[in-house]
Symmetry: C4
Subunit: 247 residues, 4 copies
């Protein structure tokens, strides 16, 4: 497979935290990463076109075509840490592409000597989640203790089906390169784009980084989620058979 | 994926306009590019075999086998500009192949320092189009103004589904290489090979290049399109249910 | 894709004719090439494992496993010409693999400076063929005249659907490298492995090479084909509806 | 396709036996290889991530994510021989991936100058096997005699469908590199993960290596297999029509 990487800039970064937030279950990881990068006023450092993303451009409201790509964004000095985000609208479309795109990105990140890799995702429960927790998987005991202290739950052997896609591959490569890594998964029904679960992931990330950010902009979307969840739950209580599609 | 490029010649070209016209919706882009290259008496400069095109040769009426390939053609001094066309009977068959074939071609074009990349296509409306307009997407404001003046329409966010295939990829690569680029899309029902829409695209291209060419050779095909469109429209007006297949 | 080529020997060859005979319609090309190589007492010069062939070994009656590969065989001084055969039990399984395997082989053949490339195949008619002719497609006028004189038929634009697979790709590459090439196609119903059609192709090849070989060993198989064809034809005449599967 | 190989160590090894035991029919090969490596207290020497394995990590009971990979393990001085095992939870998912992953591994093994390559698998019979035999395919006559003496059966032309996947590819590559190689296949119904058949393969391997190991740890699983087989056989005897799914 082939790629075309274009750098907007090549910032000098120290004490790097790498955060992956591509689309996935409930889009939890993508929403959380996009929101955090936005609130921290991240700057784009690179655009990556890749042959296993759709051969497509989208058109914006100025009639400007933009490719379906993934992008690296960065923020300097977030409480003493520099962050690199991997953001985008798509993951690669085949397992081979997932591997190769993540390897390509990982090899661009390694020269920055990342202290920790955090991959974000949703943990799909297949049922309404009123109060989503954030689950973790982690390749280093100290990091686990640290995450437990800020509210991340660790359930032995969960998720049973493992983790797939970019959230998995960056952890897999971090294992090989002996970089500390965790996957943070917000519980979600998986039925909806879940801003509520994403907010919980954002809160964990803020505690991890030792910062506070205002998540009120997520509130409108969250209330929508709550409302839909309530409606689905009411329906489930009264006519469980009507929900067979979602189960 | 692999390729085999054979050069017929390596012309010295200046002030290059690159025009892509491979098959697609209504074959609008292909017809327009083929016709323009023919009227301008283009010469073939290269043939490109590529592993994601069908593994097939076609047989002509002299029993000569010719491969399914894509080809670069050129025309010198069209009102002060040199043109390179990408022509062919097929696009690559997978998204990965689309990316890699277009990247391969783009990297052959870049050394000619193209001033503008124009990709041609059809904008499928899914209904009879009596008087097709040419829509545009463009990566540079000056180019947009220039195209608007010669009759190209810009509708914010259209096409909503984006642009796919070669017409998209060359614009995507042009973005990365900071080359001015536009996609010109003739409105078409998408039901038929649409010479009428292609004629409108040819007219826009002629105005863009500041030339006049005789499109009367397209007229016979256009009248056929008009006639079929009229018949379909009459049927649609009298028995709309019979058109369900086309909608 | 990847390959592993093992040479048994690297013969010095002159005035080379390259003959491709991999499986295809009615297996006509494979049977003809295998038979000719056998009668001319060909020697294997190379075995080619390729990642787009099945990941499989077959077991012979001595319990020896042998890979599904393609092989180059050679014969020296066949009436002043040296022949290289491409033989095998399979073609590559994807269009991409067809391209890459044929390109790989072609690039091994080119250093031998082949005078002519002959690809063999079946021309499927979809009906019983009592007296199969051999059709040709050819990239050079002199070669066409020469083939016409030895009984090859040239029907303008036929086969209408073109030629696919290895028989096509070697002709396509020969075009690009400006090597004389022809595809010789034995007419066949396409319902059966057709030794009768293959015999006709062998006869054309012998006339082309100016040699005589004894094809009586093919006779038993041919009589079987004749018998089956007669039975199918009798059935077709009496109960045409029973043959719908074959049509 | 791409890979990432991480070495835990680079042991000096002599008189090397390479044993492949990836999952397959009845998981016979995997169980046998895993068990032998465990009893011989093998050490991991390398982990191989490969783009045609699932893009996935699994989570263990310490919440540690581990990639779906294949691994090389080694044991020194097993009765004068050093062993390298290829172990893992998955084979590559496409024929192309099978070829490329096995080639990659084989090229890592070749510098150790292996004296013999043994690939392990199941021979699926599609019916209950009370007393499984171990069948062989072998590329060298002396090795065949040696295996026959320790109880391996050789049935001409069997398995008729050949051998597929990693068990086939390593034998295919060994043929090309002229390394002695055998595939050892435990008879199995193919309905179940078959520890009983695997035990027979382990016994053959021990005789081949001239060692004794205690297989009693396999006994509990074997008794389960026997019990299930008995139940299925009883069902088959009384109500054969109920077993149509398994046949």
């Amino acid at each position: 497979m082939e790629s075309l990487i274009t750098y907007d800039c090549r910032p000098k970064l120290d004490n790097v935290v790498f955060i992956e937030g591509l689309p996935g279950v409930g889009n939890v990881g993508k929403i959380a990463a996009d929101f955090l990068a936005y609130k921290l006023e991240g700057q784009r450092m690179a655009s990556i076109l890749f042959s296993d993303l759709p051969a497509q451009v989208m058109i914006d409201y100025d009639n400007h075509p933009y490719a379906i790509n993934v992008e690296l964004w960065y923020v300097k000095d977030v409480n003493g840490k520099d962050i690199i985000f991997l953001l985008g609208e798509n993951q690669a479309s085949t397992p081979q592409g997932q591997f190769e795109l993540c390897k390509l990105v990982f090899e661009k990140i390694i020269p920055y000597d990342p202290k920790v890799v955090l991959t974000l995702g949703g943990f799909g429960l297949g049922e309404i989640v009123k109060d989503p927790h954030v689950l973790g998987a982690v390749n280093e005991q100290k990091l686990k203790s640290r995450l437990e202290k800020i509210g991340v739950e660790f359930r032995p052997g969960e998720p049973q089906g493992g983790i797939i896609g970019a959230a998995a591959m960056f952890v897999a490569f971090a294992n090989e390169y002996e970089v500390d890594a965790a996957c943070l998964m917000g519980e979600t029904s998986g039925f909806l784009v879940d801003h509520k679960s994403a907010q919980k992931v954002v809160e964990v990330l803020c505690r991890f980084l030792g910062i506070e950010i205002d998540t009120s902009e997520m509130q409108e979307n969250i209330e929508q989620i709550d409302q839909i969840n309530d409606e689905v739950q009411a329906l489930a209580d009264s006519k469980p058979e009507d929900l067979s599609y979602y189960r």
